[in-house]
Symmetry: C2
């Protein structure tokens, strides 16, 4: 599968549009993420990235000005892709019940599209070096994003409808995200025995406890 990708790349470069800076930029970012997922961020070097992308070693400096900048852009793009997919999978039923909207977020986060070997490895690799790479740290948090507002709003609405303490919504939001973080860790630690359904059921159970009668 990997060598197939490489061949496709090379062929495109031989016959199609022969110079495409933007495509090469993207190719380098993708190669970076793939390399991190494959051999770990410690062994992800400029040479290895270029090798995988099929481009020459000078390209990174040309397009990004250095390895660190490339890493930062890769983290940014990876984060953006996560949220784009999350939006795509949850925006569909906007006028559904708060429970459904919340569980849609949970389900999306636990789905194979978002939670897979590649993404968990990359995600945790970036988080692991975030404390020493300020540029990357900006993209290794779930906490300051639209996603929080989505959940918060849904929980508020749910609480309002059923007469629960309004400030419960904040804890519910924060707790839901924390539970999901924990599930990702479980998945990373043991992909074999991880159950998406089990993880979803667990979170539903916790939320059902917080909002009795719902979920």
């Amino acid at each position: 599968m990997e060598s197939l990708k490489k061949d496709k790349t090379l062929k495109e470069r031989k016959r199609g549009v022969r110079r495409d800076p933007e495509a090469n930029r993207q190719l380098l970012i993708k190669a970076t993420l793939d390399t991190i997922a494959d051999i770990g961020i410690t062994d992800t070097s400029v040479s290895r990235i270029c090798e995988r992308s099929g481009l020459s070693r000078g390209m990174i400096h040309l397009h990004f000005g250095g390895k660190d900048k490339l890493l930062t852009e890769a983290a940014q793009q990876f984060s953006a892709e996560y949220y784009a997919e999350m939006d795509r999978m949850t925006d569909l039923g906007l006028h559904s019940s708060p429970e459904d909207r919340i569980m849609a977020v949970v389900g999306a986060d636990l789905s194979e599209v978002l939670l897979n070997p590649r993404s968990t490895k990359i995600w945790h690799a970036f988080r692991g070096i975030a404390s020493s790479h300020p540029g990357i740290a900006r993209y290794s948090s779930t906490q300051d994003h639209k996603l929080v507002d989505t959940l918060l709003e849904a929980f508020r609405e749910l609480g309002e409808q059923n007469g629960y303490d309004p400030d419960l919504a904040e804890d519910a939001t924060s707790g839901t995200l924390a539970l999901l973080e924990g599930m990702w860790v479980n998945y990373l630690t043991d992909m074999q025995s991880f159950s998406r359904e089990g993880a979803g059921a667990l979170i539903r159970r916790f939320l059902g406890g917080l909002y009795p009668g719902c979920f």
Copy 2:
């Protein structure tokens, strides 16, 4: 504080017992963990570790046989220290109520002894490279340890006492650990605004939802 440690080390070597292989081993492991917490695991090299420990560059190969082995032993020791501290902080009241025992685990995990800048940075650094370092992966999980049994037993007892579904205990255990994982991530992401009390209260709230009338 750091140069002070170094001086102390040097002085000990000058006047006290002048050759102490085991002490140097420990010194190297400590220097490794400190370096990871300080400059990140990417920049943690043999030279940097030796520099910090005040020992010569050959020591790592002499005592551990290579950098990877040292890293693995450091991860192992770090993990062991975590569980030792956890035991120390929770074994005190063995015959107390299940709720208290559970919240003791939560409180310990959120206490400054276990949850601090150094430990979170090291923990996440190791986890970030775990997928590509099988030796380290063994020590980057909370899931296969005595701690699980402690919680499981307490939740079972709690369920029994109050007439709850016994299989709730497994979800409660797994969820509690997941929530704690999430709290560690929150702490790593934003140490300034993190509140230990808030985090503890949130978890208590979730558990109170699962076991109404308790917590």
